[in-house]
């Protein structure tokens, strides 16, 4: 399902950081501060607003973003939190295969001790 491109991802990251819905113009400004590829040598021209709007439309079509059409410069917000979205993606990757448990075993083996501790608590011993 939802595999995001670099710009789409950058936009989602900004939306996730913002509790309130924000406009395409604000997003463009925020994006121009946040250099895409951490390449300090080049100061690239900021994106056109239409570019941001196109991306937002696509994200809306994908169900990741919704917009307030009521407020005049439309305002956009993420539909789900980053955590929920990531967790959903992980589930999607995990899938409904018969080897789910084996996958989980491998997965668990890689989390940090601190996280393992957290998980243990969450699972309620």
């Amino acid at each position: 399902m939802a595999t995001l491109g670099d710009l789409e991802r950058a936009v989602m990251d900004l939306l996730w950081e913002h509790q309130e819905a924000i406009t395409a113009n604000s997003l463009r400004d925020l994006l121009s501060q946040r250099p895409s590829t951490e390449d300090s040598t080049v100061e690239s021209r900021p994106l056109a607003v239409t570019t941001v709007l196109t991306v937002l439309s696509r994200l809306e079509k994908k169900g990741l973003v919704e917009r307030e059409r009521s407020s005049r410069p439309h305002r956009y917000r993420a539909v789900t939190s980053r955590e929920d979205h990531t967790a959903e993606l992980m589930l999607e990757v995990l899938g409904s295969a018969p080897d789910r448990e084996a996958v989980l075993a491998r997965f668990i083996g890689t989390v940090s001790p601190g996280e393992a501790e957290t998980l243990r608590k969450l699972l309620g011993h």
Copy 2:
């Protein structure tokens, strides 16, 4: 990184089912039995072997497949097990964000009771 197309995925699934390395021809045969979209009405022409070879080359480039160039019809095998691959993908999705624990919390909330039990055991006492 590795987002696979439908055919690439189908090929990987077959390779994962096979312990031994197999040829492109065998794969083509297996693929023609396994209908891609479960659409029983249409009996589509089997793929050309070159198609399978192209896909295998791409999977090789992605590091998911390796081939025995020694045996004459080259034989292909998956580099990692499906479980390992899936677990890696999950980790990739989880990423190195600061909200990893929050994501894990959401994630854990969705696994089945049986799986939760398994996880509990895996995490130790």
